[in-house]
Amino acid sequence: MKKWILHKTIIYVILLLGAVFILLPFLWMLSTSLKPSNEVLIMPPKWIPSKLVWENYKIAFKSAPFKRYFLNSVFVSAMVTVGELITTILAAFAFTRIKFKGRELLFSVLISTMMVPSEVLIIPNFVTLSKLGWIDTYKALIIPWCASVYSIFLLRQYFFGIPEQLYYSAKIDGCSDFKFLWMIMVPLAKPAIITLTILKIINSWNSFMWPLIVTNSEHMRTLPVALSAFSSEAGTDFNVLMAAATMIIIPVFIIYLILQKHIVAGVSRTGIKG
């Protein structure tokens, strides 16, 4: 009996330490967002501000058209996620169940594209988009991101885990590939798909470099771009910046809370953490 309690306590202590460790940056962000300017960079670091400066949030909110940026972020993230799910599910299915010539070769080529660092692609992509006339439009913000080799790879692994017999027996019963994919494979792969969804939403929501580069007008920009307003060559207003960052994180945090049990199920089934 005693051994069991000791065992449990040790596990909980370790988990607690891990949780605190991971939460520290967020706690620091919250603490900094409420500090007066001259306490942000003090040595030794101060965790609790001498007074709670809620004005930082007001200043942050006024510094950029948050409402418009928010709508843009929501719209772009939603469209990108839907687009990616469609391409990923179709591609993963093709790469697992449909046997066509050069399938493995094509997949290897796709994987090799993951080795190209994204910084290399910024200027060529920008040139391509301006020639297409997509700069400063939603097209530039959404379409380039509707496919992700990483997601295809992940989902393909998961699809491999679903027995082939299911496919063959469905085929014998006269089920078309398309029907099989959407009525059987997708529901079975729900944990992996939800994981991909959440990852994509987070990545799209946080994307800063790309929206900054392809947009010029205030009404096309997304939330992370607002954060750049607080840094200048001479210094950074960290407290206001943290307030803005906190506001930006909250929607994603809420989505995560709602969908979190699916992520855990996804991790335990595929054995792959996003």
């Binding site: 290897s108 200027i123 900054l212 771009v225 607080f230």
Partner: protein
């Protein structure tokens, strides 16, 4: 099968490399050709700039001003737009300086340059070399829309010179600053020290003001803090030693020279003695200073608003010109505004009218009061409103007296890459991993190579 796959993949990679480098050279050739034809076109246009705007014109100004700086710029722009019915200037914030310059480069390659942009001179050199920048002399000298001789003389000469290449004015000053020495007045008084005016006095002051109470070898208060990227702005010390870190006239870098060595030795001796240090994890030199952990720091005048806001209670600080050595040269820097010649004549005229407004006495006085930047007109000092402002913030008067002994850095294409190399070598010197002679020798070799590579882009 696997071997064949590996072979095919490696072939794909090789082709990829070849294709990429191939397209670079062809695009260089085409851009050179197009710049030649554009040059002849603009020569013909020289006498024929637009002098009147008859229909509404909208132009974009790409900048990197945020926070208070951005608000001040917005107000000036709103005033201009209201006063000029046919011109609308659209401000486009492109993030920080690095983001702005990356985006300008992308726009140049995609032939989508805005009409005006805020830009450093050592970056503008590349655009000028590709024939993309509008020569402003025709506008300045034009009877109808130009500047009077009094106006031109009202600009500090070193600011205007920073925008002149081959006798042509390609940029006008906008947000300028000076590198100064910030010092803690109370600490100096307690130690009975005067503000240093020479290198020797400076070292003495740093030594006397460094405090290591618990004697653990790590001072709680450092005498002096330098910026982390000291190599980028090492010019003043080299100049004061009688040299030039990068010679624009001879188009070469002088890392391995006696003067540079003297400057590096001076700085390094203070670092090794632990009376000076780089900002390190503090990020900027003014951070430890404004928290009382440093008696002096070297930083830009554009840090003034930040020091004012973030200094701990009761910090009594002021600023002074950099201490001199063989000369008293002071470093000025900052960005200018330039007009790209890819816009229509009316758009370029609109841009010129806007620039005239931005650099007018009233505008630059206002901008300088709202931000940490310097006014770009000498007569601002005579304005009553500015005199009052200076009484409240005397620290901003320092730069006026330094303009005659001021200089701006060289503007060679690729020099930024060479200076980054110097920074890497200096870091090894400061952490005692390399001798100064070896470091400077390697910096010279690697720096020249880096500059060449940057130019082949």
């Amino acid at each position: 099968m696997k071997k064949l796959l590996a072979l095919i993949l490696s072939l794909v990679l090789v082709f990829g490399l070849v294709a990429c480098s191939g397209s670079n050279t062809t695009s260089n050739v085409t851009s050179n050709e197009s710049s030649k034809s554009e040059n002849t076109e603009s020569n013909a246009e020289e006498a024929v700039i637009a002098t009147e705007i008859t229909s509404p014109v909208e132009i974009e100004f790409w900048h990197a001003m945020s926070g208070a700086n951005g608000e001040a710029l917005q107000k000036l722009t709103d005033d201009f737009n209201a006063a000029n019915k046919n011109i609308t200037v659209k401000l486009v914030n492109q993030g920080g300086y690095r983001d702005l310059f990356d985006k300008l480069m992308g726009a140049a390659k995609a032939k989508q340059l805005p009409t005006i942009a805020q830009i450093y001179s050592n970056r503008l050199s590349w655009y000028i070399s590709k024939g993309l920048v509008e020569d402003l002399n025709p506008y300045i000298e034009n009877e109808k829309v130009g500047l009077t001789k009094e106006d031109i003389d009202d600009f500090p000469k070193l600011f205007l010179d920073d925008g002149i290449w081959d006798g042509k004015q390609y940029a006008m000053p906008f947000n300028k600053s000076q590198m100064v020495l910030y010092y803690n007045v109370d600490m100096f008084e307690e130690a009975g020290l005067e503000v240093p005016k020479t290198w020797d006095a400076w070292k003495e002051a740093a030594r006397k003001l460094t405090v290591d109470k618990d004697g653990d070898g790590e001072p709680e208060i450092y005498g002096l803090v330098f910026a982390n990227d000291i190599s980028t702005d090492i010019a003043p010390w080299v100049k004061q030693a009688g040299g030039e870190i990068i010679s624009e006239k001879e188009d070469k870098i002088n890392f391995n020279t006696p003067e540079t060595k003297e400057a590096v030795e001076f700085i390094n001796s203070m670092i090794q003695e632990k009376i000076a240090r780089l900002a390190g994890e503090d990020g900027s030199a003014n951070v430890p200073f404004q928290q009382g952990r440093a008696a002096m720091c070297v930083a830009s005048t554009s840090s003034i608003p930040y020091i004012e806001k973030n200094a701990i209670e009761g910090l009594n600080w002021f600023a002074a010109p950099l201490p001199g050595y063989k000369t008293n040269d002071q470093l000025f820097y900052g960005t200018n505004v330039a007009v790209f010649n890819t816009s229509s004549p009316e758009e370029k005229l609109a841009a010129w009218e806007y620039i005239k407004f931005l650099t007018s006495v009233e505008s630059t006085a206002y901008f300088s009061q709202q931000t940490g930047y310097l006014p770009v007109r000498k007569s601002v000092r005579e304005l009553d409103s500015y005199k009052k402002f200076l009484e409240e913030k005397p620290v901003k008067a320092i730069s006026f007296d330094c303009m005659d002994i001021g200089f701006q850095g060289a503007r060679n294409i690729g020099e930024i890459n060479a200076l980054d190399v110097l920074g890497e070598e200096l870091d090894l010197v400061f952490s005692n991993q390399k001798s100064i002679d070896d470091a400077l020798k390697d910096a010279q070799e690697r720096g020249e190579r880096a500059m060449q590579e940057a130019r082949s882009n």
